[in-house]
């Protein structure tokens, strides 16, 4: 349990409930021990304001879900705080007491905040093991000058490999270690990406739709993994659409709509708030919200593939 200022054992549900019980269920509420604090972050695309968050704190050591209808700016928000996008001037945010507003994406990751991507970024033409080993920080062999002298890095390499193998075992990918990552299924790639992120020894992990395109069996194990991360003391912030998932594992929920944080609270309470109902109905008023067929893995994979194709066509 690293550096939590509370004396609670957050792997116990009761402890987490107790921790958050004193927190006001309103946008921008103060947390007992925030890992991440964000102020005045805005981002415009043309005339559209994609993100406009005045204040948000993310509690250390628990799972926080970030939900909201499509176009609410969740992914853009992720991109902004992890350094993959630049906000309008005036924004500031701190991670674990350290200001990281002006920091590049790679430095943010090195500071201990690691993210995954909505469209999984497995390195397709590299083996699963190579994917994993890339995640390890501070590798001597990654320095150009020492890279061609194997003795300088072979021992560290062995340690990294052991760590990678044990993580792969935990994520049930061990027998795939020599396959190209591109040959994995969508769900396996999500697992790989998460495992790879863990190779960096993060303090906080940010998962962008970790369950999207994953079949139901894998969803269960993914959920298990996310919970065990928390139980090991990691802070988790994740974007998710599936409310079953959100209710099941999150300790706190932040709701975004049209770029703003419109509500915060526990999963049970937040869905009842009027602002949340408005936000979702506003975006989905012509959609059948009960269409469970869309949750079928095949359909979803097709949709995702389509989205991916579109985005590639554009890039």
């Amino acid at each position: 349990m690293p550096e939590s200022t509370t004396n609670l054992d957050l792997s116990q549900k009761s402890a987490r409930v107790e921790l958050m019980s004193g927190v006001a269920e309103e946008p921008g509420s103060a947390k007992p021990d925030p890992m991440l604090t964000v102020d005045n972050i805005t981002r415009h695309f043309g005339g559209i304001t994609a993100v406009d968050v005045t204040h948000l704190e993310v509690q250390r050591g628990i799972i926080t879900a970030l939900i909201g209808p499509n176009g609410a700016g969740k992914t853009t928000f992720f991109n902004l705080i992890t350094g993959f996008d630049k906000p309008s001037p005036g924004a500031s945010w701190t991670f674990d007491g350290q200001g990281i507003s002006k920091t590049s994406a790679s430095r943010v990751a090195r500071a201990g905040m690691v993210r995954t991507f909505q469209l999984t970024k497995a390195l397709n033409r590299m083996t699963v093991l190579d994917n994993m080993m890339l995640g390890a920080p501070g590798q001597r062999g990654e320095r150009l000058l020492s890279s061609w002298l194997q003795p300088l890095w072979s021992r560290q390499e062995k340690d990294i490999e052991d760590k990678a193998l044990s993580l792969l075992e935990r994520f049930k990918l061990l027998e795939k270690k020599d396959d190209f990552a591109g040959s994995l299924s969508g769900g396996q790639r999500k697992l790989l990406e998460m495992a790879r992120a863990l190779m960096t020894d993060p303090k906080m992990i940010m998962l962008d739709e970790p369950m999207a395109g994953v079949n139901p069996a894998l969803t269960q194990s993914l959920l298990g993994h996310v919970e065990s991360l928390r139980d090991e003391g990691m802070t988790v912030l994740f974007v998710e659409h599936d409310m079953h998932v959100v209710r099941h594992i999150s300790d706190w929920v932040v709701v975004m709509a049209e770029g703003k944080v419109v509500a915060e609270g526990t999963a049970k309470n937040v869905m009842a708030q009027q602002a949340v109902v408005d936000a979702y109905l506003g975006a989905h008023h012509d959609t059948d919200l009960g269409d469970d067929a869309l949750l079928e893995d095949e359909n979803f994979a097709a949709i995702e593939a389509e989205a991916q194709q579109e985005s590639e066509g554009r890039s």
Binding site: F45, Q309, E310, S311, G313, R314
Partner: protein
């Protein structure tokens, strides 16, 4: 051109006809048994024909070799001379001053490694080597080279030339930019369409015997058809097959290479659509040919037409929508393939037209002119903002102008093309999205 101060250089690649040619008649070609020395005499305003060049085999100390005869070769109507030899060794090459036309003088070599006695150059003749032969620079210049012109006149004249080049570049680069915008492809074979325009014009006028302007119109149609065929036969199937942008780009490089040598099969020399001195008119200190004026008018009219189409018509809006976001455009019912086909056709037609006009009024075109023009086009579209039609227009005008005017401000004219590229690199440092591009596009 009112100004004549430039000393002379050079020679590009010379490739020509088989072995055993007579020096005076045909340029020679290097082989394992034969070497060639070759050069072109050009004052910058005219190619000097009938000038004698004296070539003397010399030993390592520069003294004439015993028993070896000096040879005199004479420049042909393109100002070129060449000298075949079968024995490797040092040769002293010198212009026979008496054979120079009045008002032109020879200069000593600026290269201390090559400088021979007087105005001569001593080179090391090798067998084989460059198939094209070894170029030899002989310096010449007009004696009255600073006499009758002022800097101001020079500036005005260069500005007009710059505008002319800019307009022609714009004609070609709008297509390049639209192709990039709609398909994401950097077409490295785009400038070959210009060369093709020039060559087609040359064939239609010189071989078929068509009058000039109908030929120009026909060139436009032919090149447009070629663009249509390219998209139908190559690019569309490849897009459907899901080839990556980079793969497609390398395909265009292969195509550019293949086309260049097809042009070389047709002619290895610089070709001009019409020969003879075109009629010109003096407007104040600026001299300009009627052909140039017509070319500039055509380019201006077409550019305005393109702007009108893009802004005011349905198909233009569709094109801009596709350039902006193909997926969204397709989703909103636009036939993306049709738009891209049209873009290819128009782009190729305009490039061909620009090519024939370029060949007519600028420098003529050679089989490998494409790449020099391509660099200017790339510089222009990147400067304006990749994928934006109006950016390409603006970028082209700037690049054309800078290229022609930079010598006025002391840039050695050898470097005038380099200026454009330096501007490009500097711009990328401060504003990578280009003048009219949106920042989002660069990521």
């Amino acid at each position: 051109m009112g100004l004549r101060w430039l000393a002379l250089l050079f020679v590009g690649l010379i490739l020509a006809v088989p072995t055993a040619a007579h020096a005076e008649d045909e340029p020679c070609r290097a082989s394992a048994e034969q070497g060639c020395l070759t050069g072109t005499l050009d004052t910058g305003e005219e190619k000097l024909e009938g000038v004698d060049v004296l070539i003397t085999p010399v030993d390592d100390k520069g003294a004439p070799k015993v028993g070896a005869e000096p040879t005199t070769v004479t420049t042909d109507e393109t100002g070129r001379w060449s000298f075949p030899f079968t024995e490797a060794g040092r040769y002293q090459v010198e212009i026979v001053e008496d054979s120079l036309p009045d008002g032109v003088e020879a200069l000593p070599s600026e290269n201390k490694l090559l400088k021979g006695p007087g105005n001569s150059v001593v080179v090391n003749g090798q067998l084989g080597g460059l198939a094209s032969g070894q170029p030899v620079i002989l310096g010449i210049r007009s004696e009255d080279y600073q006499a009758d012109s002022s800097d101001w006149d020079y500036f005005l004249q260069s500005s007009v030339n710059g505008l002319r080049l800019g307009l022609l570049l714009a004609l070609a680069s709008i297509g390049l930019s639209l192709i990039y915008g709609t398909t994401g492809l950097s077409n490295f074979a785009h400038a070959e369409l210009l060369t093709m325009g020039g060559f087609t014009g040359y064939i239609l006028v010189q071989n078929v015997g068509l009058p000039l302007w109908p030929a120009v119109a026909l060139v436009t149609v032919i090149c447009g058809a070629f663009g249509w065929v390219q998209d139908r036969g190559l690019w569309q199937p490849l897009r459907r097959r899901g080839l990556g942008i980079i793969q497609l780009m390398i395909v265009t490089i292969g195509m550019s290479l293949a086309l260049q040598y097809v042009f070389q099969l047709i002619d290895t020399e610089t070709i001009r659509v019409v020969t003879g001195i075109p009629e010109s008119v003096d407007i104040g200190p600026v001299g300009i040919t009627y052909q140039s004026i017509i070319a500039m008018v055509i380019a201006t009219v077409l550019l305005i037409a393109v702007g009108f189409v893009l802004l005011r018509t349905r198909i233009g809006q569709a094109t801009r929508a596709v350039a902006d976001n193909p997926a969204l455009a397709a989703a909103s019912g636009i036939d993306v393939d049709r738009v891209i086909r049209l873009v290819w056709t128009v782009a190729a037609a305009f490039a061909g037209l620009a090519g024939v006009l370029y060949a007519l009024v600028v420098n003529g075109v050679k089989w490998d002119s494409g790449l020099q023009i391509l660099l200017l086009l790339f510089a222009a579209v990147t400067l304006g903002g990749l994928g934006t039609a109006f950016g390409a227009l603006l970028g082209s005008l700037i690049i054309g102008y800078v290229v022609e005017v930079s010598p006025v401000f002391g840039m050695p004219s050898d470097f005038k093309y380099a200026t454009a590229l330096v501007i490009l690199i500097l711009l990328l440092l401060v504003r990578p999205q280009g003048l009219l591009g949106r920042p989002e596009r660069i990521g």
